[in-house]
Symmetry: C2
């Protein structure tokens, strides 16, 4: 059985056993069993040697007593009981396992020895496993969840492998707040058997995964990682937050997941050569995933900034330059076009500052300008008004609207109506259009916001975050040879 | 009349006129009048030459007809009508004005000339004014608001001067979301008369202002700014986001508020020498204000990291190092103390990783350690549990709690009970304790969260943001000579 087939059993098993099933909420053996019983459709076998029933379901004293082949086993028993549990898995013919239990390599040499013993049993029996010392996984497509304490997760195109379960929860929560859906998720724990590289290989060929996110403390197979990354990043983006860059960080990583000290041999330069997008901050994992999913790959690094109000445009321009993008002068043709659409007060330059003119359609001329590869729209606190510049192509008649409320409603309707056209134009011209606007909870319920979010066009909270995300997209496009190299 | 007295009329007028008062919502003259009529207690005089009443209040054709001395005038008329309006103000004896109207220096040479004429009229009449081309101001203490489209703003210790009204709204919204209250706010517009430096001087001596925030595109009086900053930063912190560092940013800034091109002569080094905390991202304005308000000034740059879960601690350690802090080894005494409080699985090092032990009181030993100057607590998605490590001093008995819900409730109660003690200890040991945890909206309603927020201990969303904020606090403490210089 090859790796892909093995990991298919991890993500799409027909039958699952929970070894260490429990009735006590707060215990992994209870919370995970509960997830398995309440979500998805498959056979679930609780294993508990003292109880005939767990959570109202028939339980078995051991895997030997289960009258079925089990594809996948979740193991939550103590480290002492683990070897026997793994032997049981081998005897049953289990294909994939996930070991929550800690107390192994992360605790020192003794633990590492015990861990190695588990690996040997599993290898002998043809089992691949996640962990130990991990915090579960999921596949939204098969509705399989073994990760507990999850924030609300919606189905979507991002898959995420994390060497920290707690950091995983934070990233999933951030994703959920910005409307990013997930396909597959693995908290990889100590990676005694399956390594980060194995999950990467699986997700590289997984059609439901459109972007791969990773949190890495140490890579056990640096060369393989780079080889895989080089292949995969031609087809889909790989975004990695790699910590342990500093002495203290590396020390902490070693103590946390027994990550190899030699792991930083995979340098920034090597990541870059393999097309991996390396991010520095937790928030970027989500922010960069969105820009990769929602935007076309730009053909160059020349950006226009469009704003209804001054300072936000200045911040965007400054941040874009700091991240290596250019803010070219507008062509005379573009200025002519904008002159005919905007009032006399506009900035006549790049950034295009409409100076308070709320609803004029300035986007199209920028998309048509051959010297512009991407547009950043910087709005203040969300007003539907801010988006009209973005959406309103072609121009529309607003002269008969004098009441402000009426105007704002009309702008939102117009924006909604034009969203499809705008997205079509972004694709046709192959130019990203990135939005920034501070949004409150009330706005998040609006139809326009939900549609933006559904298309990965979620506004970034501030212009500097939008600019940084765009710069990562440009880097990736340059790597692929779509954008001219600087 | 000196500058402070003049600006007192801006922030605490007894009577206000709105020149250009209007009944049409969406027009400045209507929205501002409405704010003045509905908030605060003072005499308000709408000026409109065609109407006897505006928004149901008696209106006057001109200031000449108002049977009262007006302290403060808001002017929203067109640029053409502005000179006459300012002449009226002079005749009435107005002390301070705020000019919303645009169409001046930001539009080019002609506009600059017209603007200069207004300055001359005002100077002759002893009037100081804000703007033109500004977006209002407020003082929460006198309940005076001329800034429209405001997010919910609560009263508090931060004051903010911004050279962009739209950016101002974003920062206020961010502050509101993280629980930061404001005292005074000015959108300074073109700064034809009153400069950023004037507001800085005022806020420096204003007792209601504990921290000064600024968004700056260009400084008109660089030397004066530095002299003022040197004096003020001995008493209260000044946090500035200065844009226009790049060529494109500077170009955009010139076009936006006619900021002087020579303004970047005030360099990073000069800011530093004056004790100004210069931030790079919009979000930092709020994040750094909170750390300055909620935390004691540390005596050095040596941080401990405390986490219930692995990766978050690694991220914190990495980010702290990147920002120049140290993560020292723990003293043997501290390790002994922690050994007696934590289970055998803890990391036995810095970061202190409690390895899933949710409710042990590890904070006190770290505060007692002479080699530690500050603590960062890195939690995953908010669980009251995560905070117990922070709050629970001294240890409490949790052995009789077996049910998870019961345990979590007990931990939250314990945390609440100990918040006062913890804050007292932070002060006594003079050691900041910075919290990071991703928080959802439901949690924001909890009593514990609201109390943390009320004390400027709002958790940062991710460990890297917490680390960055702490590093700014350390810098400031080093500047003041409280922390040992590195």
């Amino acid at each position: 059985m090859n790796l892909i087939q093995h990991l298919d059993y991890l993500f799409n098993p027909r039958s699952v056993a929970v070894i260490g099933a429990s009735n006590i909420p707060g215990k992994w053996g209870c919370d995970i069993l509960n997830l398995l019983l309440t979500r998805g459709q498959r056979k679930v076998y609780p294993i508990n040697k003292n109880r005939a029933e767990v959570l109202g379901v028939k339980a078995y004293p051991g895997l030997a007593e289960v009258p079925d082949t089990v594809d996948f086993a979740v193991i939550t028993v103590s480290s002492e009981a683990l070897p026997a549990a793994m032997e049981d898995c081998v005897r049953n013919g289990v294909k994939a396992a996930l070991i929550i239990s800690g107390g192994f390599a992360e605790t020192g040499k003794e633990g590492a020895k015990a861990e190695q013993k588990i690996v040997e049993i599993a290898r002998r029996g043809g089992i691949r496993f996640v962990g130990p010392n991990c915090a579960g996984h999921f596949n939204t497509h098969s509705e399989l969840f073994t990760a507990t304490y999850l924030p609300p997760v919606k189905q979507g195109p991002a898959s995420f492998v994390t060497q920290s379960g707690n950091l995983g929860l934070t990233v999933l929560a951030m994703g959920s707040e910005m409307g990013l859906g997930f396909s597959k998720y693995v908290s990889s724990g100590n990676e005694a058997d399956s390594h980060f590289e194995d999950y990467l290989e699986y997700l590289g060929q997984d059609e439901e995964t459109k972007v791969i996110l990773g949190y890495v403390e140490g890579l056990r197979e640096g060369k393989r990682f780079l080889k895989l990354a080089r292949e995969i990043t031609r087809k889909k983006p790989v975004v990695i937050m790699k910590v342990g860059r500093t002495d203290s960080g590396a020390r902490a990583a070693r103590s946390h997941t027994a990550a190899l000290s030699g792991s930083d041999l995979v340098s920034d330069a090597a990541f870059k050569q393999a097309g991996v997008i390396r991010v520095e901050e937790v928030g970027e994992l989500i922010e960069v995933a969105l820009v990769l999913l929602g935007q076309p790959l730009p053909r160059g690094n020349r950006a226009a900034v469009l704003t209804v109000g001054g300072g936000l445009g200045v911040i965007a321009a400054d941040a874009l330059r700091r991240h290596g993008l250019e803010i070219p002068y507008l062509s005379p043709t573009t200025i002519d076009k904008l002159n005919s659409r905007l009032s006399g007060r506009w900035s006549r330059g790049n950034p295009v500052d409409a100076s308070g003119d709320l609803s004029y359609p300035c986007l199209l001329p920028l998309l048509e300008d051959e010297n512009i590869d991407a547009v950043v729209i910087a709005c203040a606190v969300w007003a539907a008004a801010g988006f009209s510049a973005f959406m309103s192509t072609p121009p529309w008649d607003r002269n008969n609207l004098t009441d402000l409320d009426q105007l704002l409603r009309a702008i939102e309707e117009e924006s909604l109506k034009n969203l499809g056209v705008t997205m079509e134009l972004m694709k046709r011209y192959q130019k990203p259009v990135i939005l920034s606007a501070w949004v409150n909870n009330e706005v998040k319920g609006s139809e326009l916001y939900r549609k933006l979010e559904g298309n990965y066009l979620t506004p970034y909270p501030t212009p500097d975050r939008a600019a940084k995300a765009l710069s990562r997209l440009v880097e990736y496009s340059e790597y692929l040879g779509v954008a001219r190299k600087r």
